[in-house]
């Protein structure tokens, strides 16, 4: 092969880099994600200050504290990121004997809440109505959150299972946001954390913590800086950080789904970065050729 031929071959390689079939890219990413799930690498997870802030807000509470309200404003699509947050926060609250109320602003939320309630309270011998309860789903976010600022029992006269709130021990003395230690919105979009800030925080000065999918995380940052949000869990990384903190605090040794996924997350990112670099090398070389 002469010099002209070898230059042509290298040019073809660079052209190929700009035209990698998407099916190949998907396949490589799938392998990169699946492999560390089967054979974990155990990459370290550093806890970020914003996640720590939410953890500490709950860690200061005890059996005599007002209940924590968790709003599950997400659907099964966001489960990989938000469900581990829900499980970890429930474990943390129950381990510290903090009472928990749950609700949903998304119609798919109740199914996910029930899934979590099947899994966690039994481990800590918690009793429904005494240690935790579920308000259910309510349509019409503005009216719901504003109404809860006045009187929760007018918005949710009954719990999810049809029991009047007045006859439930946990909610007997809960009237509005003033009777809650903290409200946490695990949110995947609208309605979600924005409305909790808009109504519960801005209007009624409720303490609001937020857990969001990574897509929304950058939008929440300014509100954490101003103190409008007391702590933030961002995506699967945030969930894994909370799982680590809950385990380090000896609150739970249960399965940590998000931590399990972080190796796959890192390797997936690495592969994407490699593809971005390769594509750019091919693009710039081909552009110089032209």
């Amino acid at each position: 092969m002469n010099a002209h031929g070898s230059v042509e071959v290298s040019m073809n390689v660079f052209e190929l880099l700009t035209k990698i079939p998407r099916q190949i890219i998907f396949l490589v990413i799938a392998v990169a994600v699946a492999t560390p799930l089967i054979m974990p690498i155990g990459m370290p997870v550093n806890v970020m200050p914003k996640s720590k802030m939410l953890f500490q807000a709950i860690d200061t509470l005890g059996p005599d504290a007002k209940p924590v309200l968790i709003s599950c404003d997400f659907d099964p699509q966001s489960m990989p990121e938000l469900y581990p947050m829900l499980i970890s926060i429930l474990r943390h609250c129950f381990a510290r004997d903090v009472k928990v109320m749950l609700m949903a602003l998304w119609p798919q939320g109740p199914g996910l809440v029930e899934l979590a309630l099947d899994e966690v309270p039994g481990t800590y011998n918690k009793v429904y109505g005494k240690d935790y309860m579920f308000l259910g789903y309510k349509f019409g976010v503005s009216a719901v959150l504003l109404g809860m600022g006045e009187n929760i029992k007018r918005v949710f006269p009954f719990d999810y299972y049809g029991t009047p709130l007045d006859s439930i021990e946990l909610t007997r003395n809960v009237h509005n946001y003033d009777d809650l230690s903290l409200a946490i919105s695990l949110s995947t979009g609208d309605p979600g954390w924005r409305q909790w800030l808009l109504y519960a925080q801005s209007r009624y000065s409720a303490s609001v913590g937020v857990g969001v999918t990574a897509v929304s995380a950058a939008d929440v940052y300014p509100y954490v800086e101003t103190g409008q949000v007391i702590g933030l869990l961002a995506g699967m990384k945030g969930a894994s950080e909370y799982e680590i903190m809950v385990q380090n605090g000896d609150y739970s040794d249960g399965i940590r789904r998000a931590v399990q996924g972080m190796d796959a997350q890192s390797l997936g990112h690495l592969v994407i970065m490699v593809f971005i670099v390769l594509g750019n090398i091919g693009y710039f070389v081909m552009r110089r050729k032209k």
Binding site: A30, L37, A214, Q265
Partner: protein
């Protein structure tokens, strides 16, 4: 390997693979799963809205408890359907006007408080921010970022003099913001894939512990 004995898990795995098959190309399996999802979602939403909202908040008070005032929200709701009858389609303006009036009254002060007052307050340099050197530094960076980005969107003056470098700095801040958002978006999409992989390899095939 310990595959699930639950037929519903197998059906869910089949639907997941149907959706993934779109990554190769559009096909009948993907279309089947997509249509099934849309149909079930719509049905679920209608059922849960009726049982959680319409029945307890309208049907019970109006028809079982005889609270006649509830006829007003019922009428307002029904007026939305007036659009389908040209002769009385003007009635739809009543609930829309009601909603707009109520919405503006509720939203404007709350958004002003959440996004303008508190955010401006957070941007101002206060003494507490300088109690530690790093928080002080970041407070200054945030202030510069906000001012330069605002100047970039200030189109009433020609970009020359001090305005030009500040607007250019604003672009850098914007690009950093977009980069952070895009990075988080990639992270989120990979998380969705991880979730499905955990289901396929854990719940379905039993290869990994769940």
């Amino acid at each position: 390997m310990n595959p699930s004995p639950d037929p519903w898990v197998w059906f869910a795995a089949f639907l997941t693979l149907c959706i993934f098959s779109f990554l190769y190309k559009d096909n009948i399996f993907y279309q089947f799963a997509e249509h099934l999802f849309v149909g079930i979602s719509a049905g679920y939403l209608i059922a849960i809205t009726y049982h959680n909202q319409i029945y307890p908040n309208l049907v019970v008070p109006l028809f079982f408890e005889g609270r006649i005032l509830y006829i007003i929200p019922l009428a307002l709701g029904l007026f939305y359907f007036a659009r389908f009858i040209p002769r009385i389609s003007f009635l739809v303006r009543i609930p829309i006007a009601f909603l707009l009036g109520w919405g503006s009254g509720v939203f404007i002060p709350a958004i002003f408080q959440r996004d303008i007052l508190r955010q401006t307050q957070g941007t101002l340099l206060v003494q507490e921010a300088f109690e530690k050197w790093d928080t002080g530094l970041w407070a200054v960076v945030i202030l510069i970022g906000v001012i330069c980005t605002l100047i970039y969107f200030f189109f009433s003056r020609e970009r020359k003099g001090i305005i030009k470098p500040m607007a250019n700095l604003g672009i850098i801040f914007l690009m950093l913001g977009f980069g952070a958002s895009f990075g988080y978006t990639v992270m989120s999409r990979i998380s969705l894939l991880i979730g499905r992989m955990q289901f396929l390899l854990g719940d379905w095939l039993g290869i990994i512990q769940q």
